[in-house]
């Protein structure tokens, strides 16, 4: 497609979702992180068997943070959402397709929005059978409510990752459907995501040419780092970048990319500036102790450069913007993907979030081009 075209071709097509209102001279943006929500749990009922619907009503979700639903670190705003993203007709932000279309997809020239369902989706639940049933229901709900009626939206296959076999079954069930563009996991799993128990998930993702997204959050039962549980949401929020580092470190050092050379991993909502320092750290340790990890044939930074993508939200904001441009250069301009995190409070606008001084061609790469080679969009 022509990226310099004044209006994205997809937006020229008036479909059932209503007329597109992309402004001239705007990029056709690929947004790597959009969060759909259900209006209420009832929305999932058609997709759950009676057994699991009854289970959900009777026992509820049981996650490894001990909470029935509310977050132990209360957010800064209700549901961590933009105040202007609450639908007039009621329901939670992200639950109204019409508002998502007008406010975000049309308003921000989104050509494709990649969905990542969060909340009590069953991921990380103690009860593995319940976890699998919930994830399947969420995927079916996602398809019926969002990706079928709105072709700009692409689903993330939510997998019950603590049950590898069930996860593979879910990828086999949803993978053939072109409405899904990625496999969706969370960074805080019970074991670091490079652990052998998760490998069949990567094998399945690779088979369907689906990238694996590791989105921040999840309830591993472990504090955010080995240093214990912090007190505040500000620490939890800033600390997500540590869970991202755990994931990348683990995938590389455990040899996942050696094993699955076609695998692409997208780190979502943890920012990106942490990546160069981690790469250099791993390289230096690899140089010292490669005899411990003989399964690695290349330097950690080479695996990272080839297989790991990072989304840009929340945008890094140092006092001196040259510092963030340095970091982007070090990561590689072809490895950064724009993400908005709509409808959450720390939303990034594709046309305002980037530092001044970013060359237009770089902006175009990040917002419109790179995503095309990562997500399964056709």
């Amino acid at each position: 497609m022509q990226l310099d075209a004044p209006i994205a071709p997809e937006l020229d097509v008036a479909d059932a979702s209503g007329p597109a209102v992309a402004r001239p001279n705007r990029l056709a943006v690929i947004d790597g992180d959009v969060h759909p929500a259900w209006r209420s749990q009832e929305d999932l009922k058609p997709f759950l068997s009676k057994r699991w619907w009854d289970h959900l009503q009777t026992y509820g979700s049981r996650r490894k943070n001990g909470s029935t639903g509310q977050e132990p670190y209360p957010k800064s705003a209700p549901l961590a959402c933009r105040r202007d993203a609450w639908p007039e007709e009621g329901g939670r932000p992200g639950s109204s397709l019409a508002l998502m279309q007008s406010q975000h997809l049309d308003g921000n020239s989104i050509e494709f929005g990649i969905l990542g369902p969060l909340g009590a989706t069953g991921q990380g639940d103690f009860n593995l059978d319940f976890s699998a049933a919930m994830c399947s229901a969420v995927n079916d709900w996602q398809r019926e409510t969002f990706t079928r009626p709105e072709k700009r939206l692409k689903g993330g296959i939510v997998v019950p990752y603590e049950d590898t076999a069930a996860s593979v079954a879910e990828i086999d069930r949803c993978g053939p459907d072109p409405d899904f563009a990625q496999v969706f996991m969370l960074t805080r799993s019970q074991e670091p995501l490079g652990s052998r128990r998760y490998w069949p998930i990567y094998e399945a993702a690779q088979r369907y040419k689906l990238p694996v997204a590791a989105h921040v959050f999840g309830t591993s039962g472990h504090p955010v780092s080995g240093a214990g549980w912090p007190s505040f949401y500000v620490e939890e929020g800033a600390g997500h970048s540590t869970s991202c580092q755990t994931v990348v470190s683990s995938l590389v050092i455990e040899g996942v990319f050696e094993r699955f050379p076609g695998l692409k991993v997208v780190m979502v909502e943890g920012g990106f500036a942490w990546l160069p320092a981690l790469s250099w750290r791993l390289d230096k340790l690899f140089e010292r102790m490669r005899d411990e990890v003989p399964h690695l044939k290349r330097k950690p930074s080479e695996y990272i450069r080839e297989h790991v993508y990072v989304t840009t939200q929340p945008m890094e904001e140092p006092d001196d913007r040259r510092h963030v441009l340095d970091v982007m250069e070090w990561i590689g301009w072809d490895r950064l993907l724009f993400a908005s995190d709509y409808p959450h409070w720390d939303f990034d606008d594709p046309f305002r979030a980037f530092p001044a001084g970013l060359k237009p061609e770089r902006h175009r790469q990040i917002c419109a081009e790179n995503g095309r080679s990562v997500y399964r969009l056709s």
């Binding site: 912090p230 007190s231 500000v234 140092p318």
Partner: protein, 357 residues
Amino acid sequence: MSTEWAGAIDCDVHPRVPNIRALQAHMDEYWRDTVELRGIEGFESIAYPTNAPLTIRPDWREGKAGADEHVERMAKALLDRHGFAHAICNCLYAVQMIRDEHMAAAFARAVNDWVKAEWLDKDTRLRASIVVPVQNPELAVEEIERCAPDKRFVQVLFLAMGELPLGKSYFWPIHRAAERHDLTIGIHAGSSYHHAITGSGWPSYYLEDYAAQSLGFHTQLGSLISEGVFVKFPKLKVVLIESGVSWIGPYLWRLNKFWRGVRNEVPWIDRSPNEFVRDHIRLTIQPFDAPASGAEVGRLIDQLQSDEMLLFSSDFPHWQFDGDAMLPAGIDASLRRKILVDNPLAAYPRLGGRHAT
């Protein structure tokens, strides 16, 4: 001796306790007997496996023993060779790993007295950190009070990973005692191993364990700032030791941004996290996670927005560099002087720089 490093202050060297007998000699009768009765062989954590390449640089190994077991060997490899003015001993004997707080206190006392007898008393250039039983702040304060009259103790030592983040009010009696005695707080890479090493559980390889230590520093920095430790203890200085350095800029960008967004949660924080860091946080320079070339190093140091943040360290005997390449490339002469001498003096009041004692 070259003059290139003359007068430098090495803020991180590691004396190794050779065996349990060395500590028994500094225990009271009850604990000496307990060690015998229960067959306690000592506490070594998996943080630095003795034979792992990182733990002791090849030319600092002598047969089975490392040069870190004897003060003379360490002095020969570092202080005599380069003419350092001081070196600060951080003993990593795994007191923090012990589950019994009374035993931890006994071992902390023994470690501190052993360091005094075998290292400080044998080389006047040496200074040391006080190892404390973090398992019980009251006992930790007792140990600080016991050691503080000896001005050769310049710091209170924590590990990057314990049971609770160090900003929590649980630890404030320790911070208060440190501030009262002009002792710096040192946080060193390492874990009590009371939690999994990462937020997603235990990794398989030692390489990952060491890599993950920098994540503990992220948590500690966020905690110290958010809980208001530096509002409560405005004289306190905290040194992040063996943290990797280049993680801090990007983490601070996040912490600053989140703070701007949600600062109503921590209303006692009256300045940006950036400002607290410039005023209170320092980092030792080894290891410095960066490519060998100078270009990135210069840009990374620029991220620190201050030439007062970095303190010289060899991290002896850990294998962080070869030969005498103790500083990363790309550091100019004036910054070099600050890193080697001025910044350590400012970070450690007990070294006699700003507050002669």
